[in-house]
């Protein structure tokens, strides 16, 4: 049931949410990350995500397995390629018997994904191009 992958096509938020609905779980927490227009003063026009796909999916599975081992269901999908404003870059979802653990594990998954999964963003901002994650 668990879905963990990198995709190039648009993320089907409704279908992935649906996949987390099971009679045995009462609480589902989902996180949806979209392309934001403004970061403080900086205006973004689009973002290009690239990945080291095999390793990225391996790292995502490591994270998902931690949550699956606790008896929850998990969805982790990240899109790569060129994304326009408002498009969904990442969908994380956790279904659990109780809501506190759904929130806790969903947040852990997105926080850790951002630190360990080899995906990179090239941000086309109005003033210049920025590479995500790089100190200047």
């Amino acid at each position: 049931m668990s879905i963990v992958k990198i995709v190039e096509e648009p993320i089907d938020v409704a279908g992935l949410t649906e996949s987390l609905m099971h009679d045995e779980y009462g609480g589902i927490d989902t996180f949806i990350g979209t392309i934001r227009q403004f970061t403080d003063e900086v205006e973004t026009e689009k973002i290009e995500y690239t990945t080291y796909k095999k390793m990225a999916e391996k790292e995502m599975h490591k994270l998902a397995d931690i949550v699956l081992a606790k008896g929850m269901d998990v969805v982790m999908v990240h899109r790569v390629g060129e994304l326009a404003l408002g498009e969904v870059a990442v969908f994380i979802g956790v279904a659990a018997p109780h809501r506190a653990e759904a929130f806790e594990n969903c947040q852990m998954l997105i926080d850790t994904l951002k630190k360990t999964v080899p995906i990179w963003k090239k941000e086309y901002d109005k003033d210049k191009i920025r590479w995500g994650g790089l100190g200047e």
């Binding site: 630190k115 080899p118 090239k122």
Partner: protein, 79 residues
């Protein structure tokens, strides 16, 4: 040995770079060799990790014969 590059390094240098790696080495050796060839990207390389066979490495000693795939991982920025 072809080393995979990603993100800004792939765009500036290319998707792979050919290095002569000794039978035994550490991650820093790989980064240092690339830095020597492309000093302009020293800043990015100083922030990068090295992955062997799709796993992050740290300071451990790596045997060349155990390496199927090696890649430089600049700071990740997914999500």
């Amino acid at each position: 040995m072809k080393v995979k590059l990603f993100s800004v390094l792939a765009e500036k240098i290319g998707p792979t770079i050919d290095l002569n790696l000794p039978d035994q080495f550490v991650a820093q050796d790989v980064l240092d060799q690339i830095k020597e060839l492309h000093p302009d990207y020293a800043n990015v390389l100083d922030q990068s990790l090295v992955a062997v066979n799709e796993e992050y490495t740290n300071d451990e000693s790596i045997k060349l014969e155990s390496v199927d795939e090696i890649a430089i991982i600049p700071p990740v920025s997914g999500g």
